[in-house]
Amino acid sequence: MCWPNSNGARATVATITLTRISKSFGATRVLNDIDLDIQAGEFLTLVGPSGCGKSTLLRILAGLEEPNTGEVRIDGRTVNAVRAADRNLAMVFQSYALYPHLTVAENMMTPLRLRDLSWRERLPVAGPLLARAKHKSLRAQVEETARILEIEPLLQRKPGQLSGGQRQRVALGRAMVRKPVAFLMDEPLSNLDAALRVHMRSELAELHSDLGTTFVYVTHDQAEALTMSTRMAVMMDGDILQLDSPQAIYENPSDIRVAQFIGSPKINILPGDVDSDGRISVAGMTLARRVSAANRGAISVGLRPENLKLAKGSSAETIEGTLVYRENLGSDLYLHLAIGENIGRLIVRAAPHEASGLNVGDQVFVERLRGEAIFFGADGKRVGAAGLKSNGADAARAVA
């Protein structure tokens, strides 16, 4: 896939600014004063569980929904009063929303016809006669887009005759054909089968870098967000909890909910305790790292499965557990351990050769990689190491 940069028709790029957006449906508040700056040309993903408000935010941006308060600006211009049809944004819907009675070519032609032709030129028979050149150039644009998406052979078919993946491409084509200032995508891959979904991730990322246009992408699938985005915004209960690059969010979640939502398998959360000196004890061991004594009391300690490794035997630095399940993914193996004293489950990543001798029911010893533990206070917020600000991401990671 390659966008024709050669003719100089690179798509326009827009910055989008959302300021203090709030929205309620009846008594239900779905967005709480959201601020969001979308930079020109970036691939921004809004990710979060169902009902977090991400789709509503996208639809407010599109103009399909009105915010109760707040301002939407595209390239500095306030567009609250501008209807969706006039914002020059394109949207790919979860259900694709193709017009079932029109062929693929007609579907892709629709946004061009509605925008570029007068009502006279749109008349069924007289229209093409009146404005032959215009119609021809529109058809050429459709064919060009179809060529890029490799759907030329489908142009004369109707949506009902296409597979899910093909419909998805047509929906993309309909959005691309008129060179909008930004693409909005509402869970566009969720109706595809697993293999195609994975394939489309790379294709969409590639499309984004070819087009250079702003993409705003909504998904509940953290893997999609991690693989495609330039930046991602993790949303929950109507708030953006964290907005950063995928890497930063994965490594330095600012909130326990972010930590638990991003990453598969889930991060291990163990209950810990902070004493009056700021020392942290968890699962029977005391960590070298300390936090501010102000956090005295219960604390949650997050450990990603890949930051744990199997140990040969018991020591002061190990956690002991019973193997209850071997989750074999071929390249990796996730060992699910039951650890004592109501602490719960621990998932550990291991290479297949390391774990080959282990069977369900065996006692297993695990040690952690130093400094990779992440701490969260009772309110779920990130807790930094002693003497440092609680949200100082790098500082918190520093080996104590």
């Binding site: 049809a85 193709l98 079932p100």
Partner: protein, 306 residues
Amino acid sequence: MARSRAHVWFVAPAVTLMFVILILPILIAAVLSFTDYSLGNDGAQYVGLKNYERIFTRSTYEKMFIATFTYVGVVVPLSVGLGLGAALLINSLKRFGDLYKTIYFLPVMAALLAMAIVWEFALHPTIGIVNKTLATGCGTVLEHWAWYAQGCAKTFPLWLTDRNYAIWTVAFIGVWQGFGFNMVLYLAGLTSVPRELYQAAEMDGARTGWDRFRLVTWPMLGPTTVFVVTITCIRSFQVFDTVEAFYPQGGGPSKSVYVMMFAIYEKAIQQNLMGIGAAITVVFLGFVMFLTLMQRWLVERRVHYS
């Protein structure tokens, strides 16, 4: 597998009745249409195509076809159009939509014969509420309308007994009775249009209501429209209750409301001319079956999502 022969018991009564009540009568009608049979006279003469010849040459039957097709030609487009219009309006309302829906559906529920009698009463030239109401408009701006002025000067139309008005009045009652049914079908059709299609249309630049209607609503209602048109056609071909209530004899002023079902009733039941009645029946069945087959063909041709 030793499955019982139960199906014979399940199917036999239905098949027998289907044959005796639905198929056999068609054959009987077809055979009788070539005779001059009448009840009580056992000896029926074979008369060849004479009955059909009459139907297609005599002026009485010409009037029958004119009345029937005028009725169908008025009632079908109007009741489908009003049904669609009402459905679109009600669907776009923020509140009270259900109230209108209920009201418009009432005539569908009411016995048409009873309502025909009430209409006859309301349309009574002297004591009817319609002309009385019209008369109260005399002397107002409405008199600039020539028709109205004439009504005020002399009398307002006799509606049911004036040959220039009769068929239109009967057709109006047909529309009154039937459009609520179409409205409900269209409302059902409208709820099945995916909302995302309207949003896609908005994103694609459909700014006016007309754009959205052309791009989404009308095409998505295609199957509903085919069905609604067919069923309205068949129903209006079968109009009888109103005609018989207004004109027990003869089919209205100058036979201007002499519709086919009434013709069958008059010829066969009132006058015991079974041969000609059977021939009209056969022609009638031809129309109805043609219409239904057309509908099935159209529906099968335009399946959107598979």
